[in-house]
Amino acid sequence: MILRDLFAVVMLSGVFSLLSAALFVVMDAVDVAFTEAAVGAGISTVLMLGTMALTSRQEKPPTHSRALPLLVAFITGAALLYGTADLPPFGAPDTPIQMHVAPEYIARTPTEIGVPNIVTAVLASYRGFDTLGETAVVFIAGIAVIFLLHQSSRRRRDDENDEEEV
């Protein structure tokens, strides 16, 4: 099945995002699932639809052979599957990620921060500096998009005047 209608592709990626959000809920990562559902399935889909309205609705047929991209995707997928074989079982308590700082956060949050959601305590307090950086990244991304795409109201007015003159 080869899909060239980009509207369908955007919708499918939104559906995929929502399904992975459901997967995160199954894996007890509710905060991540929440973000995935809101950003991945919601905003990204709308922004990609907006991009599509600015560009094209149809993908151009490729001019070169698809054998190489298919091979690269296949090898990458095989390597990832091979890698998962070495992963510890899901939720195992003795994995390195659970042994490092996580017990410390779980032990110290009730006495030091006192908020029930440890994810929020880590995100906003223990790792507050990181979150400040993330917020700055979002801010910079917004500025960049405005610089690239924004049409000032003056220019829009000029355009309208031009049309009237014509």
Partner: protein, 147 residues
């Protein structure tokens, strides 16, 4: 979209609950899943839904782009300002214990998390609306027959 009565009325009914839900996610983030990032996106979605159904020009009237751009900067400023305040009080940067009386570190942490999450939410919501406005203002109006 003037003749899509069902779509217009249903989205008009949905927008206030979406906003209320965004505030719930924002302020309940300490106790359950959620926080500034998710709440900001949900809050922005309410405005984007409005623009999708009623048109971008109406959104510009409801929410002037100048306010959106100010909100982008104010959120980061609120976050960094919380950190700077704790510096001036003689604590480490972003040490929320500075926000309460000495010995009441937990109350300071609560207030600090509330403030920085509010900053995150404000910036994320404003940036999402600004990006949507930047895209949608350039796109030609989509006609019903195009879909």
């Amino acid at each position: 979209m003037d003749h899509h009565y069902i779509l217009r009325i249903i989205s008009k009914m949905l927008i206030p609950p979406i906003m209320l839900y965004a505030f719930y996610v924002q302020f309940h983030g300490d106790f359950g899943p959620g926080g500034g990032f998710q709440a900001g996106v949900i809050f922005a979605v309410a405005f984007i839904l409005y623009a999708l159904v009623y048109g971008v020009e109406k959104l510009r009237k409801v929410l002037p782009p100048l306010i959106v751009r100010a909100g982008m900067a104010l959120g980061v400023l609120l976050y960094a300002g919380t950190g700077a305040y704790s510096l001036f009080k003689g604590y480490n940067f972003l040490d929320y214990a500075a926000l309460a009386e000495p010995g009441h570190a937990k109350a300071g942490q609560h207030l600090g998390i509330l403030l920085v999450e509010a900053g995150v939410g404000l910036t994320v919501a404003s940036v999402m609306i600004a990006i949507f406005l930047a895209f949608a203002s350039r796109a030609p109006q989509i006609k019903d027959t195009d879909w």
